[in-house]
């Protein structure tokens, strides 16, 4: 088991003829992902890395039976691409694109109401189920198979954390980056719910950052809903000054809200240990697993 994607997931790449998309299509195929089609309007009939290109997502879905897509489309068109994927009835849409206008994402979220599609991102590295399937740009060599789920608002921190876990002998079921934007698809609680329902996942590592209150909300949810799977956390941005956007559109302390101190306090209050520095994420997870008595079960690589 794993969450959201596995070796059988049929995937299409939206914007497949772009340079980044072509590069990552190759990488995803090499990882074993079942890429069954691509979409670029006007390019139907072409092949990219051996993958057939279609004019529309609905054509691609009809021909290939795909249930998931990954989007590498420029920011000004990306919201439309997400909605096209939702309209085609996909189960999962992953949007890598950064700098989508926030009001476009407000429309997307409204459009998604009452529809079955789940969205990961935008402005995210994607999702990877170890050894089976990856959608997005996560490097294939940073994580090994195991029993810990990983969810993060940051791309590079996802890789960094997975790498530290690998060095500590801790493997991963699925890792996903939910993205650095203020208005997005799946949030921490959605990811935690999925990990809770996954038998293979025994524990979760959650990586947050300044801005918003998703980490505080997650802390409350974990305390009330997930007593049996220990969570370890890390929060980036302890030194971020108020009112300054720290790279990610959503990483900003505004009106005194969204500080790292508040998030760490909320997590600690429900018994979740937060790594003191980015260099100690791996060992903090190990300590949590030992305390919960599941270190041996999670020591898979």
């Amino acid at each position: 088991m794993s969450i959201l994607v596995n070796r059988d997931t049929k995937v299409i790449v939206q914007g497949i003829t772009g340079k980044q998309a072509t590069f990552h299509t190759k990488q995803m195929l090499a990882y074993g992902t079942k890429i069954v089609g691509g979409v670029t309007p006007g390019k139907a009939g072409q092949l990219v890395e051996g993958v057939p290109v279609f004019n529309t997502v609905s054509d691609a879905v009809k021909e290939t039976g795909a249930t998931a897509s990954v989007i590498y489309v420029p920011a000004r068109f990306a919201a439309d691409s997400i909605m096209e994927g939702v309209d085609a009835g996909l189960d999962l849409v992953v949007c890598i694109t950064e700098h989508i206008p926030v009001l476009d994402m407000v429309k997307v979220r409204r459009y998604m109401e009452g529809k079955k599609t789940r969205l990961i991102g935008p402005n995210c590295p994607g999702i990877m189920t170890t050894g089976e399937c990856k959608l997005g740009i996560i490097p294939g060599n940073v994580q090994k198979r195991g029993r810990v789920g990983l969810v993060s608002r940051s791309g590079t921190l996802t890789y960094e954390a997975a790498f530290q876990l690998m060095n500590a002998g801790i493997g991963i079921t699925t890792s996903l980056g939910i993205g650095g934007d203020p208005v997005k698809g799946i949030d921490f609680i959605d990811a935690l719910e999925l990990f809770r329902a996954d038998d293979e996942t025994l524990a979760v590592l959650m990586i947050g950052e300044i801005g918003g209150t998703a980490e505080e909300d997650a802390a409350k949810w974990i305390a009330e809903n997930m007593p049996n799977k220990p969570v370890t956390a890390f929060i980036a941005g302890r030194q971020a000054p108020p009112g300054k956007r720290m790279g990610h559109a959503g990483a900003i302390i505004s009106g005194g809200k969204g500080t790292a101190a508040d998030k760490i306090k909320a997590l600690n209050a429900v018994g979740i240990e937060v790594a003191d520095t980015v260099a100690h994420i791996g060992e903090t997870v190990v300590a949590t697993l030992r305390r919960a008595g599941i270190y041996d079960a999670c020591h898979t690589c």
Partner: protein, 395 residues
Amino acid sequence: MNIHEYQSKGILKRYGVPVPNGKPAFSVEEAVSVAQELNRPVVVVKAQIHAGGRGKAGGVKLAKSLDEVKTYATELLGKILVTHQTGPEGKKVGRLLIEEGSNIKKEYYLSFVIDRTTARVVMMGSEEGGVEIEKVAAETPEKIFREYVDPAVGLMPFQATRMAYRMNFPAAAVRKASAFMLKLYSVFIGEDCSQVEINPLAVTAEDDVIALDAKLNFDDSGLFRHPEIEALRDETEEDAKERAAAKEGLSYVNLGGNVACMVNGAGLAMATVDILKHYGGEPANFLDVGGDSTPEKIATAFKIMLDGGQAKGIFVNIFGGINRCDAVAGGIVEAAKIISADGKSLPVPVVVRLEGTNVEQGRQILKDSPIKNVIMAPTMEDGAKEIVRLVNESA
């Protein structure tokens, strides 16, 4: 992106939102001539800086004669204004807004922001105007009202009316207040705002509803749709290094300290700033060089960090994912060539931590082209400690 109050009011006016008559002034003479033109018994001389709390800091003056306008304009132009939002260093006043005085009966608070949880625009209103809304939220949260907007239909008139009644507008001003709100929502949507704040919004003795102050912030990702907003940018309000970095496509925030860092990825960059502070350093900056950095871009990043002698040491913290460590290492070697006279030195200690894709090749490149002052760190923790130690020793 932020703009000045007078620019915000110009946009409001375009959408039919009532604002006091007024014009910006860049000199004392201009201030007096605008006041003359307004020809009102009372004019307000307002310092234009990108920070709130100007009133309390002495940046807003009521002038009852042209002489007083001259006195206040002379006093304010060029003054360093320190408010609770500027930090102790303050901000230099380079522009004024000269505006007609209003006959204020009561002040209110009104704003629009994006609510992350519901993914909707939310209108917030309160009868407690003219004070910091954070204070109201902390002390009397029941005095703040909210209306969430369905983007499919926009702010509905009944929502605006409900808000006007909850905010306790006098009966004669309720319709004007709700019309004001509807127009303000159009500004938010039409201009891709991230925040619109009217504090205070005033009801005048004549029961008119008017924006006494106006703060508009814009979504940087939406600016491509609004070149006319981009043109309002006041570069003197922005940190010179941040501006230079933005022009090169680098995500940089000046933090004022002396231990600089160059990192790939925003999350890791934030976490690197944190770890430098954790080991006793004073972080100079946040800097995300991104995933596809060319040597030229890395050289530019080094120049910005070193500019003005700010960085006494630099921590390069790279986790190679899709972008490879060998490319970053090559970039550092090239950067040294561009920056230094002899082509193989950097002016301050540079501790480099490389991990991830092609890490061995990356380390080999730095070994093969030794650059004076560049030190390899075996781990991130060691690297952070080492750069802090080196900077503290040099101080």
